[in-house]
Symmetry: C2
Subunit: 332 residues, 2 copies
């Protein structure tokens, strides 16, 4: 919308990430009162539909992103929040206030991307469909704990690639490292993003300077990555994610893809691949993601680079477009 | 190869499914002796490579299907079995001998297709990434067991579609029913296959007579299937599998796909889909699949429709091509 690729009407209000103070409450709202400080999820969550009850809040039937044609966003003095009981959270304690905006979308998205990858690897290491683990435990019960520890060790020594080190990628990298993945390869072409990734304990790889496939293979005895987190959302990144994976690898994609898939059915069959696509159920992972952000808040304290007045929003967009700003907060 | 789509040399020996008696053993073989009755996996398993050690025996670096240009098959008086300790199993007890041939490929493939779908649903119901289950248990410990039961109930009441009711599909349906899935919708266009599926407790749906999407929606309050097992291996089946799934559904594909994927990156993103592709690690699931086959052997006793002499192999192929035969065994 900022770049004009997507038309918007005059008076359209942008902004899917916002925090604020409750000014009025509707008659169906039970969890909030006027004056509460709250953080909003990027899309309403009704908590009533089948998906919400399951915990699949990313597919809430009432879900529609703030700041789109269908629902006014948060870059304004006031914003109406539908289904507030599901959509809002009280501002949590023990979190650097400047990082709070990350809980609307970016941190949960990166957290989910990383956790899907890790969960996929964990399942693979423990499932009787893909490991001998269970059979060993059954036939040799006294080794049960040893096998459990071995599986955990194997998980920690998995090689995980994060494709893209922009805001979401950095959150995914922080999460993967927090969850015990020792080798996280961070891929981007922007040096200061890669430096940020390195500070979080990832191995930075600039794809304009290195052959990433060779780098991954050299660290995996020629196999390829155990899992790839893809946060970019374009076909080149998705193709690269596929190619970097070893057979039976896990592809966790949270990028917003709009094109054809850059691999075939034969590729998928021969790689025995597992793939997850799509957006995060923020409401479902909120507390766990928040805890992870708390643990990483010291490393991410430079994440928000600019705080501007709402009147200077255009400047903020310009700084971001020029990659001078990482994350800009607009204050009312 | 039978139809001539794939060229083979004169003297090529077909057959990736075979059972027999050990006639000679190589010097590296420890588990078998001359005279043992054995059943072979469709592709050698070395048990030494990284993939085999993990349990990902479907991607054994020595894996190459019997009966291809690279490795002679079992439709002969003798067959050489590489890596016999990993590739062969002693003929198990308590199994109808006529069903033994199913353990080479077809039953484990169907078993794996069904179990991947069920495992995906189980993970979704229990993971803190996609359910509120864990959070509830933590905040309200006395309800832990209740939540566990609820998850199990929810799994059993999931709606699972099996696309294709040929030999592999029937095995997948038998597995899904055995694992407690109450509603399995079996889709095919051949009436006697559908009847076989119905006898296993599935709901038969002939896609040449019914609107399958409407049938699925009518059973899921309009949502779509929770999981689809796709065993056919062509783009039409894969497209249908995708379309039949609800958002956040699980696609378990064991069909051999060779074409482009019939859905886009945007489709995947918007559906928040999880997909598994590829062949079964037979060696890894062998014992569990065998147990499941044992439990179902009474229902599958008509599975092998013809036993012919090896000299009549051409007749067997002809009967199968005409869909008169379901499964043909060639005897030496």
């Amino acid at each position: 919308m900022y770049r004009g690729h997507q038309k918007t009407a005059t008076g359209h209000i942008m902004g899917h990430e916002f925090i604020g103070i409750v000014d009025q409450v509707g008659s169906d709202v039970n969890r909030f009162a006027v004056g509460d400080e709250v953080v909003s999820i990027f899309s309403p969550v009704c908590l009533r539909c089948w998906y919400c009850k399951q915990g699949l809040t990313n597919r809430c039937v009432e879900g529609v992103a703030f700041g789109t044609q269908k629902l006014d966003g948060g870059q304004a003095e006031f914003v109406r929040v539908p289904f507030a009981d599901g959509t809002l959270h009280l501002v949590p304690e023990d979190l650097d206030r400047s990082l709070l905006i990350m809980m609307c979308d970016i941190f949960p998205t990166g957290y989910y991307g990383a956790c899907r990858a890790i969960e996929g690897l964990q399942n693979q290491l423990q499932s009787p469909l893909t490991s001998f683990h269970k059979q060993k435990s059954i036939s040799n019960a006294q080794n049960g704990d040893t096998n459990g520890n071995q599986a955990l060790d194997a998980l920690g020594s998995s090689v995980v690639v994060c494709l893209g080190c922009g805001p979401v990628g950095i959150c995914a990298i922080a999460t993967a490292r927090s969850k015990g993945i020792q080798t996280v390869l961070a891929v981007d072409s922007v040096d200061d993003r890669l430096e940020e990734a390195a500070q979080l304990g990832a191995i930075p790889l600039n794809f304009s300077k290195h052959d990433i496939l060779e780098e991954v293979k050299s660290r995996t005895q020629g196999r390829g990555a155990d899992a790839v987190i893809e946060v970019v959302g374009n076909p080149a990144a998705l193709k690269s994610a596929f190619e970097l994976l070893r057979p039976c690898g896990i592809l966790s994609s949270v990028g917003f893809h709009q094109d054809d898939l850059p691999f075939t059915g034969l590729d998928c069959y021969l790689k025995n691949i597992t793939m997850n696509f799509g957006r995060v159920p923020v409401r479902t992972v909120f507390n766990d993601a928040l805890q992870c952000l708390r643990e990483n808040q010291h490393s991410l304290k430079n994440y928000v680079t600019h705080e501007l007045s709402l009147d200077d929003a255009a400047l903020g967009y310009d700084l971001f477009e020029k990659r001078v700003a990482r994350k800009v907060i607009l204050q009312v």
